[in-house]
């Protein structure tokens, strides 16, 4: 049986950017996982959370701990508008971030690259209805 917790994320909510990642960081810290694994989870979670805030119409982050299997799953599910060109989006340095986002230092185009680098498994599905990013981390 998995332990599950859900968090809402809102479009362009820059004031609260990182709050969900901070909460998830504390939850993972309490599991006493390896320090490097914790840091990887934090980087991936933050980048994905920021992507939702910058690029989506909002959505939900799902934390799911499969304790017996030693796997943590993080799901980032939004309600649109989808990623028009996934290949471009996965290209380091490429970004469709708004001017507002860039003023805050976002939009370097490194988010997905960072996520892929630190996750043990990565799955991305997208359409106009929304995007679902699923990440797996081996925590034991």
């Amino acid at each position: 049986m998995a332990v599950e917790k859900r968090f809402k994320v809102y479009k362009e909510d820059f004031a609260n950017a990182g709050n969900v990642s901070s909460q998830i960081k504390q939850m993972v810290k309490d599991l006493k996982v390896d320090t490097m694994v914790l840091r990887h989870i934090v980087v991936a979670c933050y980048e994905a959370e920021i992507n939702m805030i910058i690029h989506s119409n909002g959505g939900e982050i799902v934390y799911r701990l499969h304790d017996k299997r030693g796997v943590l799953t993080l799901e980032f599910n939004d309600v649109g508008p989808g990623i028009p060109d996934v290949k471009k989006a996965l290209t380091p340095g490429w970004s469709s971030a708004s001017q507002k986002a860039r003023q805050f230092g976002f939009g370097a185009g490194m988010g997905l690259a960072n996520i892929i680098r630190v996750s043990d498994d990565f799955n991305l599905n997208t359409s106009e209805k929304g995007t679902s990013l699923k990440l797996h981390f081996n925590i034991k």
Partner: protein
């Protein structure tokens, strides 16, 4: 070197809780792009930047940085300073550019 010891050398304007002055400094990272900082910053770092908004504090907390130095005389508003104090991240402010700050840090062995 601790934040306190560094402050004795740099004499920048500083905003910090007493206990956060004891934070050890491991290295330095210079960037104004948050994804680069998230991807490559190391725990215990000094973060040198011109960015001075709440997301900077969030990143510094998540990456376990020891200090943020905001350069080029960028204004720090009260909410930013209060957030840094609440999250126990020391802040320094200077009129020097990021390049000039880095030169000083290198000369101090960081």
């Amino acid at each position: 070197m601790t934040v306190e010891e560094l402050n004795e050398e740099l004499h920048f304007e500083i905003f910090a809780n007493k206990d956060s002055l004891k934070k050890e400094i491991s290295t330095c990272f210079v960037s104004d792009l948050l994804s680069f900082v998230m991807g490559y910053g190391k725990p215990g770092s000094i973060w040198v930047t011109v960015q001075a908004h709440m997301n900077v504090i969030a990143v510094a907390v998540l990456k376990e940085f020891s200090l943020i130095i905001v350069t080029s005389d960028v204004k720090l508003d009260k909410t930013f300073i209060d957030k840094a104090l609440k999250e126990n991240i020391p802040l320094m402010k200077t009129t020097l550019t990021s390049y000039e700050v880095c030169k000083r840090l290198v000369n101090l062995g960081i």
